[in-house]
């Protein structure tokens, strides 16, 4: 039996809305991933700790209450410090308050070290497809 790829999932910050989290958990599990779901109200360090403990290959961060920039800044550094610099970091949700140009938001989060940045309303299927693509690319790299 093939070993499942593990991903850490959670809602960062002080928001209790769990709908997207539950949906993504279900969809990722159905797509064959092993999901370590930290639920809501998750501090940065908990994401890193869970990734190390479970040897996960990706951290999927959701932020829903508009303070994503503050909550997410420094997460890549924490990963680096913990020795998992190469882990995939994805982020999505309502990353800023109100309507703003999304490409600016995406650039900002990419500069903060996120590999993928999703606009509000992104479907789980898109995230899964990206994850499979990025993981395949990595395994090819490691074979070279």
């Amino acid at each position: 039996m093939e070993k499942k790829v593990k991903v850490v999932l959670g809602v960062i910050g002080a928001d209790c809305h769990a709908v997207g989290n539950k949906i993504l958990d279900y969809a990722l599990t159905a797509a064959g991933f092993e999901v370590i779901n930290l639920g809501v109200l998750v501090p940065q360090q908990d994401f890193v700790n869970a990734a190390i403990e479970t040897d996960a290959q990706a951290i999927l961060v959701a932020s829903l209450y508009g303070h994503g920039e503050i909550d997410c800044r420094g997460l890549r550094d924490r990963c680096r410090e913990a020795g998992i610099d190469d882990i995939l970091l994805y982020v999505g949700g309502n990353l800023v308050v109100g309507k703003t140009d999304f490409s600016g938001v995406a650039n900002k989060f990419q500069d903060m070290g996120f590999d993928r940045v999703y606009a509000p309303g992104t479907l789980p299927g898109k995230v899964i497809a990206d994850l499979q693509e990025d993981l395949t690319a990595r395994s090819k790299e490691s074979l070279m």
């Binding site: 002080a14 209790c16 709908v19 997207g20 539950k22 159905a30 109200l41 309303g121």
Partner: protein
Amino acid sequence: MELKNRQWTHDQFNAVRQEVLNHWPTGKEVDFAAAVKYHEAIPAKRQFAKRLVKAKKNGETLTQPRAGVALIDEHIKLLNYLLTEGEADLLPTTIDSYTRQNQYKEAQNGIEESLKAGRSLLNGFPAVNHGVAGVRRVVESVNAPLQVRHGTPDARLLAEITLAAGYTSYEGGGISYNIPYAKEVSLEKTILDWQYCDRLVGLYAEHGIEINREPFGPLTGTLVPPSISHSVAVIEGLLAVEQGVKNLTLGYGQCGNLLQDVAAIQALEQLAEEYFSKHSCADCILTTVFHQWMGGFPQDESKAFGVISWGAATAGLAKATKVIVKTPHEALGIPTKEANAQGLKATKQLISMLSDQALPATKELEDEINIIKAEARCILNKVVELGQGDYALGAVRAFAAGVLDVPFAPSKYSLNKILPARDNNGAVRLFDVGNLPFTPDLIAFHHDKINERAKAEGRDPSFQMVIDDIYAISKGRLVGRPR
């Protein structure tokens, strides 16, 4: 204290009270005897319970907004604006997030920052910090019935202060302010803490002061089947009555399908009456509250008016006793007072226009009512069985067993095994009934409803439907059809 659905003795209550009133310095301002005297002088038209009873008798549906800011004078201005310009029948005081987490220091800081900034930096009114005297300034400056609305798992000190200050209604409950609002707080703790709040209301009742209590109906606000929220409402109602509450408002959040929503309001009242009379709680007066659409809102204000109006129309046709009103700014965060008044006025217009109509009591409506009641009975009877006759214990065990299960709840105490999805007409059904103790007939009913939709959409029933339903509203639709 051991959890049991039994009225707390005065000794039990007083022991805890000493501690609660010491959580923050303003607790010392609470003088129960003086508070009873204060309430005795409140005129009938400012008493929440009396206004609700009158509305129920006259078949009215009352309007109520959500609203709260950091500072007392600004809060008074806001409420009076919603009263005069928004024509609200009932007024709220929505509590800030720090107070909800019992972080009174942070709330104090928010008050001071707000004073400096000249605008509210809190998303609600920090009633504990303002203390009894401060809160009374609100009570004395607003000529309408006032209710505390929040989302506080441990709302004991908040209850002591706001009720002593003359508030006549208090929202919340041990399940409904835990499962959707917390992640790791145990149900035992929140049910005990809410027994305290209910007992406090019961004490006022013993002194002739009638205070309205309202469990929070919509729970997570997303695809919650009526039988689930109704079961929670009935349990919280029974727990409240046991502690001496005499005036209760049970709630339900709009699902969007007219027939199901009207059936839900009627089933809620019937179920509550059935279980209350079964458990000799018949001297408690029951009313209902309908929450306008709790899911995602369109950013466009005109479209938001459409959603608000549909909630208002449904509330009016269902003859709920009151309706909690959204604003055209819903998608954008905390609304301006103008937007809040706009939502109220649109709602008032529809409530008035539809005051002479109800959805006729057809066989189809009756069938839907019966389904909801049958499901809730399955759950409630299993809860009391698990609790060996005790609803408080039963509720804790039922959540552990998934006999009670709230979709999309952040709390780890909700098993999260059920999966709701809309049927072909947009009513909320169960794609996966999880561990709900439904009869085979009821399980087949849900199965058939989901299959009917799947067939209409030319696909197999799948979790994709749940996902599509969640995302449908961003396209202005209820049912997430395949692209």
